[in-house]
């Protein structure tokens, strides 16, 4: 114990030592400002400000060149009545419905396997985690090549065992499954690490007790492990859904939203509206619609968690 620590304990009151610094209220305010401004300025200028601005832009018609024209809620009305909007939300939903179960079940299986006594656990965990540190663009390119219909390794292997592989990202039916496959490969390790951290926090006595009571592996999994893991599961679901609605990079690099718009998703549409069709107002309206959907889904999850998430 250092002399300083001793003197701190002798002083005994939590507030007393602060007083010398608070010589003047004005001076203290300056100190607070000095510590907050470096982060507050960028957040105000480049996040909160643009957020409010986007709300205003969404009420205008604007091609980014001529001055914007106020049109009220026309952009929203246009988007809500356009069947294309439903399509791109459906594609996004298709992505989420395919992607979330694969990464969750896969990530859980690996986490369960790695949560046992195993030599070189860090090494194996590292292998599963590698795709997480790669960029989405690289992942998309690698999978575009793996799933190349003619010379890709997947179809080559399938052909060798007598299966005529699909056209993957060149086929409207298989474009979204291709994107889902690549995305699941990238994020599996991410989900695995979160679930593994959750598993390691579970008291092993509880599982032992169930074992002593004669519960088999599956029953222990469903009646003991999964309920105790529910906070981690909840967290994975919230993050996966937020990220799922924002899917963009991999679509841009793998299919460009095609073929024939079959894998066009919401954020890709926002990008196209802004930079290809010069419809910044409509793009902003779609941005806000997306934000509201994500917010609503997150709030519903947070409210719904009481039914199934148990905090030990």
């Amino acid at each position: 114990m250092s002399a300083n620590t001793v003197s701190a304990i002798l002083v005994d009151s939590k507030d007393a030592p602060r007083r010398p610094v608070r010589r003047g209220r004005g001076r203290y305010a300056l100190v607070v400002l000095a510590f907050l401004l470096p982060s507050a300025l960028p957040l105000l200028l480049f996040t909160l400000g643009p957020m409010v601005a986007a709300a205003w832009v969404s009420l205008t018609e604007w091609n980014l060149i001529r001055p914007p024209v106020f049109v009220g809620f026309d952009n929203y009305a246009k988007l809500l009545t356009d069947p294309g909007t439903g399509q791109i939300f459906l594609h996004t939903l298709f992505y989420i419905v395919g992607y979330v179960p694969i990464v969750y079940i896969g990530g859980l299986a690996i986490a369960l396997a790695l949560n046992s006594r195993l030599k070189g656990r860090a090494f194996w965990r590292g292998i599963y985690f590698l795709p997480v540190v790669s960029s989405w663009i690289v992942v998309a390119l690698i999978w575009r090549w793996l799933l190349n219909p003619s010379t890709g390794v997947v179809n080559t292997v399938l052909a060798a065992i007598g299966i005529d592989g699909p056209g993957w990202w060149t086929d409207p039916l298989w474009a979204m499954p291709s994107i889902i496959l690549a995305s699941a490969w990238k994020d599996l390790g991410f989900v695995m690490v979160i679930l593994l951290a959750g598993l390691q926090a579970i008291n092993p006595d509880l599982e032992d007790a169930a074992r002593v009571d004669g519960a088999g592996w599956w029953r222990r999994l469903f009646n003991v492990t999964l309920p105790l893991l529910s906070p981690s599961t909840f967290f994975v679901l919230v993050i996966s859904l937020i990220n799922g609605f924002q899917v963009f990079d991999q679509v841009y690099a793998m299919t460009g939203g095609g073929p024939a718009g079959s894998s066009q998703v919401v954020v890709k549409e926002i990008y196209d509206l802004t930079f290809r069709y010069g419809a910044a107002g409509e793009a902003s309206a779609l941005s806000w619609m997306l934000f509201i959907v994500v917010l609503a889904v997150t709030v519903v999850q947070i409210i719904g968690q009481r039914r199934w998430v148990t905090y030990g």
């Binding site: 996040t47 832009v57 006594r117 590698l130 790669s134 690490v193 997306l290």
Partner: protein, 278 residues
């Protein structure tokens, strides 16, 4: 000890376990292996599927990559942006974390909640106004334009605030008695005590900048200003069938992350496990 009791599987179960883990790891690693093999197989693409052991390996694709495009410049762009973003985020996040942990003021809870809420706002929602804002400032096609929106990170502030909260308050109270003000407590006591969290944030800031795509794509339109992911996406448009070159570019882009990851695995895994933010 509790840890000694974690599932001690029987021999049969142990074999199954190992088979599952190793087979899974092979599946996970194969795409990387295939990327490397493709990059050293000249002419891979239109008609040629590389073989697992290339008969005529060559680094030709790498040579072409650097000869035909400003690829070295692209790497330096990514590196410079990632380093600057990291340093600035360390500064803005640690100062904010100190304020939210050590400097009580009226409305601090609300301000902190607003900070955290910005984590929920996807960049995509902000694209149009941000683009217009930077255009107005004349910052399109400038490094500063690419950097500014990355200067503050709600994730970083959250992460570091947790760490600052762990630093015993007795330490700063003792320093206060010795006459130290907040700036000295911050630099001499708090910062040295949150080094692991600073390392985690460094890795994440660097990684997310290195891998970021949408914003650099929008703001850096000139070829010589492009970052790696944007250049890679363009590479594919340029060499639609020359997969050896595209894969060589991918290898070049992954290697620094791989090195960083091996070097700092502990901090990366910790960061994900604690926060769940990529």
């Amino acid at each position: 000890m509790a840890s000694a009791r974690i599932a001690r599987p029987g021999l049969g179960r142990s074999i199954i376990l190992h088979v599952v883990i190793v087979a899974g790891a092979l599946v996970m690693f194969f795409p990387f292996l295939w990327t490397i093999i493709t990059s050293i197989t000249p002419g891979a693409g239109l008609t040629l599927t590389p073989s697992l052991i290339p008969s005529d390996p060559s680094l030709d694709a790498y040579a072409r990559l650097f000869a035909e495009r400003p690829f070295l410049r692209t790497i330096l762009n990514s590196l410079a942006l990632a380093l600057i973003t990291t340093v600035v985020q360390l500064f803005t996040s640690s100062t904010a974390a100190y304020a939210f942990s050590r400097l009580p003021f009226r409305g601090r809870g609300v301000v902190f909640a607003i900070y955290l809420a910005t984590m929920m706002i996807p960049l995509q929602v902000l694209i149009v106004p941000l683009f217009v804002e930077l255009k107005t400032f004349g910052l399109l096609n400038t490094y500063l334009g690419a950097l500014l929106p990355t200067f503050a990170s709600a994730f970083g502030i959250f992460l570091l605030r947790q760490a600052v909260n762990q630093v015993p308050r007795e330490l700063d109270e003792a320093a206060t008695l010795d006459g130290a003000g907040h700036f000295r407590i911050f630099t001499l006591i708090v910062l040295p005590n949150i080094r692991p969290a600073l390392a985690t944030l460094s890795v994440f800031a660097f990684m997310s900048s290195w891998n970021s795509f949408l914003w650099p794509l929008v703001v850096l339109r000139k070829p010589e200003l492009q970052t790696l992911p944007v250049a890679l996406a363009g590479l594919q448009g340029q060499y639609t069938t020359a997969w050896d070159i595209v894969m060589a570019g991918s290898v070049v882009s992954i290697l620094p992350m791989l090195a960083l990851y091996i070097f700092a695995q502990r901090y990366v895994v910790q960061g994900v496990a604690n926060s769940g933010i990529k």
